[in-house]
């Protein structure tokens, strides 16, 4: 099995590190680090400004990343790709720049129980402000989305204005069949716009926005080997005229007089102020890196890791897994608990062996409440992980059981 560990300098600096917290953020390959560093050492200047060569070249890098992302997700035109700070900021742009102006009291926003807080909290705020209703699609016994529950509800389909769902759960690892869901919902909820939270999926699953049929797609660079501080909101071309910017100021105008402003066209209209120039440069290198490996190869590796992880965890007595035991349509993200042991204590023991996992509610308290637990451990894997890393984690679980004397 090919591993990509050597591409990531952190593992040279910390050879014993077993990093299993990729759903929180991924490590960065040398090419991304170099792209960030090169921007500062060779191209640093502001973009879209100077007539001089240096600024022109910086702009080419910045806009080059936009092009790479547009190609990566099969956008129709470049202006559909808006740079934001991260997925949270992207979803907030939809909520405040679109939904807040268009939604009326009694309108419905459809979410799911497996959403990250970033795709729940902005909608709760709109509920409190406008009086919209939230409908949460439940999860079924196999930890998959029971989206058909919606059609058994008494919701007035015409009132549904937004459907906002994650492509993959950051806790369960479940991959939602979004193409199928979008087709079905758009038939019934003719007034609805579809928002996809791609934070967890972009580094694992190919997204073709045209084929998928969504209206907005939000994701972050840092969960796909890129720098932190930059994300994307992809906006379907027709929606660019309906969406309004949340921030205004420099770089987003066509003309300004003492009491009037005409905005520039997208994407500038939505990118007020100087962006994260070096992070955008690194983001481009991250997309190149994923393309060079190929999402098909990544998916194949994911399946090997998912199967091995589930097989190994299943075998241990006193381990409860929160997620499907079927590797199909599932990412190598394993939420679990060791019976009677708080996740904080377990992760402290794992840390002795430099095994990094997340312990807590994973910004998914609605899901954890549905799962009837307060917190879990979570191991989330990436291309530089191996089945051996999973075996080390299993060893860590045995250590925990020994120290806390449970058998």
């Amino acid at each position: 099995m090919k591993t990509y560990k050597k591409d990531f300098p952190i593992f040279t600096n910390r050879p014993k590190l077993i990093y299993l917290d990729n759903a929180a953020t991924t490590q960065k390959p040398k090419s991304v680090i170099n792209a960030v560093s090169n921007f500062y050492t060779k191209y640093n200047s502001n973009v879209h400004r100077g007539v001089y060569d240096l600024s022109f070249e910086a702009t080419e890098i910045y806009e080059g990343t936009r092009q790479k992302i547009a190609d990566f997700i099969n956008a129709s035109v470049l202006s559909e790709v808006l740079f934001t700070g991260n997925t949270t900021e992207s979803i907030n742009l939809v909520a405040w720049g679109y939904a807040r102006r268009v939604l009326k009291k009694g309108d419905v926003v459809v979410l799911s129980e497996m959403e990250h807080h970033s795709n729940i909290v902005p909608w709760i705020r709109l509920k409190d402000e406008i009086g919209i209703k939230l409908f949460y699609l439940p999860i079924d016994k196999d930890f998959r989305l029971d989206y058909k529950a919606f059609f058994r509800s008494n919701i007035n389909f015409k009132k549904v204005k937004i459907i906002s769902l994650t492509y993959a759960s950051n806790v369960l690892g479940t991959i939602n069949p979004l193409e199928e869901i979008i087709t079905l919902f758009k038939k019934k909820c003719v007034n609805a716009k579809f928002v996809v939270d791609g934070a967890q999926s972009m580094a694992h699953i190919k997204v073709d926005v045209k084929k998928m049929g969504c209206d907005f797609l939000a994701f972050s660079a840092h969960k796909m080997y890129g720098p932190s501080g930059v994300g994307v909101l992809w906006v379907k071309k027709e929606m660019l005229d309906v969406l309004t910017p949340i921030f205004s100021g420099g770089g987003m105008i066509e003309t300004v007089t003492k009491d009037k402003v005409i905005f520039a066209d997208a994407p500038e209209k939505f990118e007020a102020g100087t962006g994260r120039l070096e992070a955008v440069a690194g983001f481009g290198a991250a997309v190149d890196y994923i393309n060079a490996i190929g999402l098909k190869n990544i998916a194949a590796l994911d399946q090997v890791l998912t199967k091995h992880g589930l097989e190994s965890l299943k075998k241990i007595k006193d381990v409860q897994i929160y997620g499907s035991l079927n590797a199909k349509d599932r990412l190598p993200i394993f939420a679990f608990n060791i019976k009677g042991i708080h996740p904080h204590d377990a992760s402290e023991i794992f840390n002795r062996e430099q095994i990094c996992v997340r312990a807590g509610h994973h910004c998914a308290q609605v899901l954890l409440t549905a799962l009837n637990t307060q917190s879990t451990l979570r191991a989330s894997l990436s291309i530089y992980n191996s089945t051996r890393d999973i075996d080390r984690l299993i060893g860590g679980i045995e250590d925990v059981k020994k120290i806390f004397k449970i058998n």
């Binding site: 708080h342 996740p343 904080h344 204590d345 402290e348 023991i349 807590g360 308290q365 307060q374 806390f404």
Partner: protein
């Protein structure tokens, strides 16, 4: 790895498995809850005051071994203590109960009950 863990020593394991003052005080004068925002753990602290003394104190909640053991030791420490003295307690006094050095990442776990009491005495 042997079971002689540097952090999870007998004092912590004992107070985790058999916490002192675990429960709720009847007709309490102090009844306060506190959440550890990083993990969602919650503690409820109840207490009875007589003659400016904390004559009864108890805690409940779901927490890690560190938070449970620390709450157990802390409630033992403050039981029957005059309020004036309790108010002077620092977080170091509470951390010292554990007899082992814990990493700053676990301070919030160990101090959850202490933070609850501070809130309750405001």
């Amino acid at each position: 790895m042997n079971t002689n863990d540097p952090l999870y020593r007998e004092i912590i394991l004992d107070n985790w498995k058999n916490p002192q003052n675990f429960g709720v005080v009847k007709n309490p004068d102090i009844d306060v809850s506190e959440v550890n925002t990083s993990c969602g753990d919650r503690v409820r602290l109840t207490g009875k005051i007589q003659n400016n003394k904390l004559v009864q104190v108890a805690f409940t909640g779901d927490g890690c071994a560190i938070s449970k053991a620390s709450s157990s030791l802390f409630t033992e420490q403050i039981k029957n203590m005059p309020l004036t003295k309790i108010k002077k307690l620092t977080k170091e006094d509470v951390l010292n109960n554990l007899s082992v050095k814990i990493s700053p990442a676990r301070y919030n776990c160990a101090l959850l009950c202490f933070h609850a009491l501070q809130k309750g005495l405001k």
